[in-house]
Structure formats: structure tokens, C-alpha cells
Amino acid sequence: MPHDQETSPAAVTAPVSVRLSASELAAVRGNRQVFAGVSFSVTAGELMAVTGPNGAGKSTLLRLIAGLLPPSAGEVSLVPVGEEKIGTRLHYVGHRDGLKPSETVRRNLQFWARLWGGGDVEPALAALALERLAELPVAVLSAGQRRRAALARLLLVERPLWLLDEPATALDAAGEARLGHLIGAHLAAGGMAVVATHLDLPVKPTATLALRTA
């Protein structure tokens, strides 16, 4: 049964058939083969951790799934296949936080909420304990606070797939707990997540994809 076992009410309404699959993916950066023959499948409620040493291609794999880089071989598919771009059905949080330093946290979030057709930013601010920082320009925030602001974007609109690149970097214990809570709620609601990390995740992954340096 591809559906998760949790009995939260959200899981009942979630589409059962969402699935991310990749077959025989390969990536070349520069002239170097980063990885080849990577296949996996993730369905609703599953969390796949992507592990491996530096340079093994964890970030590259996430960018490849998002469609930000073309694979040199193989293909990625996100079922159900829709008319819309794959980018509108996933959230990507990379190393670079996508925040404008001179604008306030609230303004940064409002910009993306409006662009994505989302609503109020208050729940997202509250979920990451950013209320007291909301009116500060991002430039004065610490690295962990910035990361939390970047993660708040995950909650602006609901999307089935989350791609997180080292999401726990610079987060304190409380921040990590919040991140774990967010991922847990997302999975319980029938979402999927692929997380590149070399640390232990606050949520236990259902599958692990270990990349090796080629």
C-alpha cells in the first residue's frame, strides 16, 4: 500500500497517487561524471534522505529533480503528470536562501506568497517563530534565522513535493525540532520530501539514497 499509515484527517483527502520516480539518472558537471544510474521512487508520505560525502552530487540531484539542471541521461517524473510546470508542484530550498537582504522578512515572504497565489504569511511566520523578526531586514539576521525565513516559504502554498538541500544547516535545537515538525506534518498530509543531508534528520527517513563519489 503506497499510502502512509498515519490516520491524520489530512491524509484521507490527499491524492493517493502522487509519486516521484527517477530512472537511471546521470549527471555531468564540467567534464566530470558526478553520478550515474541513480534510480528511486518516492510516494505519498515518504521521506527520502540523500546522503553521501561532499561532491557526491546531493545538491546536483535535487536541482536535477527540480528541473533546474538537465540530466545527462535518464529521466525524472512526478505523477500525476500535469499541464503545469514541474516547478509549480514542488518547493525547492537550496543553499542560497532566495531572500533579498534589504527587505524585511515579511516582505520577502509576501512577495513569494503573492507570486505563487498564496494567502496570508502569518501562519508561516508563526510556524518558524519568526513573528518577532518579521519587520527586520534580512541583512541583519543570523544564518540560522535566515534559514528559518527560507524554510517559511514551504508553508506559503501547499505543494506535494519538497526538495530540501541541507535544511538543518545553521539551525539550533529548537529550529531543528520545528523543521522536524514541518516535515512530519507535510508527510502526514500525503506529501513527499527528498532531503539532501549529511547530518541526522529530525524525522526518520523512510528510505535512504547513498551517493558515492564517482
Binding site: A66, L69, Y92, K100, S102, E103, F111, R114, L115, W116
Partner: protein
């Protein structure tokens, strides 16, 4: 879609006024170019009045190109570009919206300043009005053509004056027709070059977003 483009244009305009953004620098540079020329040429008012429209155009051209290197580089560096690529709005329209925002912040102030600076050069009212009008029509083309260079520079990971050097040759047609549309009583009627100038702006509004978006996609890393 229009709302999303408006949002991006306003963000681009707002950010170019922030933290020493290029908007004011361009205007000051324009002022500097125009005020320096009379010192070089000498106090010949008739000569200044004659070359005035050309000086204003050259000043506006350089001031526009100077501010463009950060059009996409900031978005690339902070990761917003990835999110723009992933977003529902086609990247071409995002580029067009960013150009509109950049023009509002840098091009429009130049147009507004032109009548004042024209007085410094002693340009008579009729050619001065024409110069202002041609700049209003022509500076969007400069921003759009410059955006292609800005996208290429971003893709290559370079910055600075390279955009201006790279793009300058391609802006020469705009400069030629822009200045010749201010030559009242010249060998050609003013309307002909003015219409060509309008055409150049419209063509670049179509071609530049396609080219810049292709460059940005190719430069994702």
C-alpha cells in the same frame, strides 16, 4: 499573470533604490556627463545647442548601461533566480517585468531630468522637447538590449563594466535614430527616425526577453 509581472517589476524598482542600488548613481552619472561637456567644448553656445541632443543621448545611454550589471546577478547570487525559473510565470515574462522595473528606476528619472539638463547645454525648447520624447521612447530599448548582456554576464559569473562594453555596439542603431529624430530642419523629417525608434523598442521588447531568458537558463549551475 499581469499581477505577477507587476509584482516583479515593483520589486526590481524598489530594490534598485535600496542599499546604494544603481538608480541614483545612473542619474548622477548622467548629470556628470552633461555638465562636463561644456567645459571640454568651450563657451560656444551655438555649438552646445547644436550638439546638446547628442550629448544628452550619449549620457542617457551610458547611464542606462552602467546600472544594468546587477539586473540578474543579485537574483542569481541570492537564489531567487532558481525560484523564478521554477515559477509558473514563464522566465521570458519575468525578464520583461524586471526590465520594466529597471526602466522605472533608472530610465524614467533620466527622461525626467533631461529638460533640466538640456537648459545647462542651452538647447532651444523645440529640440529639447523632442530629445525628451525620443529618450522616453528609446531608453526602454536600451534597457531591454542591455538585459541580454546582463543575462549573459550573470551566466558567465562576471560583472561590472563588462555589460556596458558588451552591449554598447548593439545600442548604436537606437542612438543613431534617437539623435536624428531630434534634428529639426535637417535633411529628413523627424517622424521617420522617430517611428524607426519606436519599432526598435518594440522589437527589442520581443527579442530581448527571449534571448535573456535563454542565457539565464543556460547559465544555471
Amino acid at each position: 499573470m499581469i499581477a505577477a509581472m507587476g509584482l516583479i517589476a515593483m520589486q526590481t524598482a524598489r530594490l534598485s533604490f535600496r542599499h546604494g542600488g544603481g538608480a541614483f548613481v545612473g542619474l548622477v552619472f548622467f548629470l556628470a556627463v552633461v555638465t562636463v561637456v561644456p567645459f571640454a567644448v568651450g563657451p560656444d553656445l551655438r555649438l552646445l545647442a547644436r550638439i546638446g541632443p547628442a550629448v544628452l543621448w550619449i549620457g542617457a545611454l551610458l547611464a542606462t548601461l552602467l546600472g544594468l550589471d546587477r539586473l540578474f546577478r543579485d537574483d542569481h547570487d541570492d537564489g531567487s533566480l532558481d525560484l523564478f525559473v521554477l515559477a509558473d510565470l514563464p522566465l521570458e515574462l519575468t525578464v520583461l517585468a524586471k526590465c520594466a522595473g529597471a526602466w522605472l528606476a533608472t530610465g524614467l528619472p533620466l527622461v525626467v531630468a533631461t529638460p533640466v539638463l538640456g537648459l545647462l547645454l542651452g538647447v532651444p525648447p523645440a529640440p529639447l522637447a523632442l530629445t525628451t520624447a525620443t529618450l522616453l521612447v528609446g531608453t526602454p530599448a536600451l534597457t531591454l538590449i542591455g538585459a541580454i548582456g546582463a543575462a549573459l554576464i550573470t551566466a558567465l559569473g562576471r560583472g561590472g563594466l563588462l555589460v556596458a562594453v558588451l552591449v554598447l555596439p548593439f545600442t548604436i542603431p537606437v542612438l543613431i535614430f534617437g539623435v536624428s529624430a531630434t534634428a529639426l530642419g535637417g535633411p529628413v523629417a523627424v517622424t521617420d527616425p522617430l517611428l524607426i525608434l519606436v519599432a526598435l523598442t518594440l522589437i527589442s521588447a520581443v527579442v530581448a526577453p527571449l534571448a535573456a531568458a535563454a542565457a539565464l537558463r543556460g547559465g544555471l549551475d
